[in-house]
């Protein structure tokens, strides 16, 4: 277990994944608390303030961390990154395995269960820029070629924030100034984007932002931030545009389909 776990975590003691509108921190419980803390810092650096106020689930697999260690991790995560740890809403692979491991089951089922625990967690390929490293994966959907996407069917008013770290966001409506849309994947606004959008919020530099009218206060993709040109607010017509990272910076182009 430990070796394959280390392999999965790429030699790091923790792995960070988008999970619904929050995050999932997978911790290699066999690592020392110092290794875990240092790995957390490494994974979380460069992620910016789009994460503030987000919930995070701690997944230690079939290992158990001691209470003082858990305490230390919780404290670090909350004080340094503003993330609040919530209970795991879905049973971990371990718990699933525990059910299957009951003595009443046949040996074949026990073997199946063992395979579930040992199966590595899929890792998405990343485009690597020579700037800062991206550190987190967008969870691939179970069906190949499909990605988890959240549809929001209303406009956002100033002060409202929608997060979906697990995948992409499609919004039917406007995003008003002062509102924020934050996705682990792409952001598509079928309306006016006048507020803030952050695509690839966990470090994916391939993510894009599309809007029918792109007049944002600020755009963020991956770890890059850009603001619109000075005379941008004159635009009233619906003129679809797409923002993506090109040559190390965010560029905006007219959008007429993929």
């Amino acid at each position: 277990m430990k070796d394959s776990a280390r392999g999965v975590f790429e030699g790091q003691a923790v792995q960070l994944k988008g999970f619904r509108d929050g995050l999932r921190l997978m911790v290699d419980g066999s690592a020392s608390i110092e290794e875990i803390e240092s790995s957390i810092r490494k994974r979380m650096s460069n992620l910016g303030d789009s994460l503030a106020g987000t919930s995070i689930v701690l997944d230690t697999g079939n290992q158990h961390l001691s209470d003082p260690d858990l305490e230390r991790i919780s404290k670090l995560i909350y004080e340094a990154y503003g993330l609040e740890i919530i209970p795991d809403p879905i049973p971990t692979k371990t718990e699933q395995a525990k059910e299957l491991f009951s003595p009443e089951r046949s040996e074949k089922k026990q073997a199946d269960a063992k395979e579930i625990i040992d199966r590595p967690i899929p890792v998405q390929e990343q485009v690597v820029l020579d700037t800062k490293p991206s550190s987190v994966d967008v969870q691939k959907h179970d069906l190949p070629g499909r990605e988890a996407t959240c549809i929001i069917r209303h406009s956002l008013r100033s002060g409202q924030v929608e997060r979906f770290f697990e995948g992409n966001i499609v919004l039917f409506g406007d995003v008003n100034p002062g509102a924020e849309v934050i996705a682990g994947g792409d952001v598509v606004i079928l309306g006016r984007l006048r507020g803030l959008a952050h695509a690839g919020a966990l470090g994916n530099v391939e993510s894009v932002i599309v809007a029918m009218n792109l007049t944002p206060t600020q755009l963020r993709i991956g770890h890059l931030i850009t603001r619109p040109p000075k005379n941008n607010f004159g635009k009233r017509k619906m003129q679809p545009e797409i923002a993506c990272i090109e040559n190390g910076s965010i560029s905006v182009k007219t959008f007429d389909g993929f």
Partner: protein, 264 residues
């Protein structure tokens, strides 16, 4: 049961208290029974604008503390029938009253009055929570400038999350000269972002300042532009169908048509 309307804005100084004073008075002039409630504990000014400061003996704080009956705390405006004021305490602050307590007072008042107009303080914190606790509808006041509209959008989001869905917008202090020059947002720019029903536009009116200081709401002076606007808003609140006139630079009177086809 009367209607409980909270007048709020998010931003300070956009004309909430002025609107409550003038609209409340106008509704009373139309024959409705009205009580205006100042929810700005600690920074009260509804009584000043209405010219009733010297007659306030008991405030909502006294009522909540059980020192006096609600009826006794209501100041009766002698200039027009059926208009009363429940003043806020100046020596306390907003944390001294809980939303439940305000709610109880407003509900009680709505049993015996057609309109309970609650003047909310600026902000989105406890003062706003207290003021909106009993409301079933809201008047959102904004001026046609970017910061005010931003704050109004925030407050509308908060009102909607409280299931207060009857939201009416007042655009206050519109200055057609500045709109013409491109220095000020026009009503369409504002409505584009706020997307709620517009119940009225009140033009910039220098007479407001004097009226405020003298405690004589402008509504009593039929000739002023703002007074006319508040009259129309009161009539709309009362269920009448009154068109919004066009405000052109250089002329305050106008007709309905042109605006839709015109400026934009």
């Amino acid at each position: 049961m009367g209607k409980i309307i909270v007048t709020t804005s998010g931003k300070g100084g956009v004309g909430k208290s002025t609107s409550v004073a003038n609209i409340g008075t106008a509704l009373a002039m139309l024959g409705r029974s009205v009580v205006v409630v100042d929810a700005d504990v600690g920074l009260r000014n509804l009584d000043i604008i209405m010219g009733l400061e010297s007659r306030v003996v008991y405030t909502s704080m006294n009522v909540i503390d059980g020192e006096c009956e609600l009826e006794k705390a209501l100041v009766i405006d002698r200039r027009v029938d059926n208009l009363k004021l429940l003043a806020a305490s100046q020596r306390n602050n907003k944390t001294d009253i809980q939303p439940d307590q305000m709610k109880e007072i407003c509900l009680k008042l709505s049993e015996t009055h057609d309109f309970v107009l609650v003047d909310s303080p600026a902000g989105i914190e406890q003062g706003f929570e207290n003021a909106s606790s009993a409301a079933n509808s809201a008047l959102v006041v904004t001026t046609p400038e970017v910061s005010a509209v931003r704050d109004a959008d925030r407050i509308i989001g908060l009102l909607q999350s409280k299931d207060i869905t009857d939201l009416q917008l007042i655009i206050n202090r519109l200055n057609p000269e500045l709109v013409k020059r491109g220095d000020m947002l026009n009503q369409f720019d504002v409505l584009d972002i706020l997307s709620i029903n517009l119940i009225g536009i009140v033009p910039e009116d220098t007479d407001i300042v004097g009226a405020s200081n003298r405690g004589l709401p402008l509504i009593y002076d039929g000739t002023s532009g703002a007074a006319g606007a508040y009259q129309r808003i009161a009539r709309r609140l009362d269920g009448q169908d009154v068109p919004i006139p066009e405000f052109r630079a250089g002329s305050w009177l106008g007709n309905l048509m042109g605006k839709i086809l015109g400026n934009n």
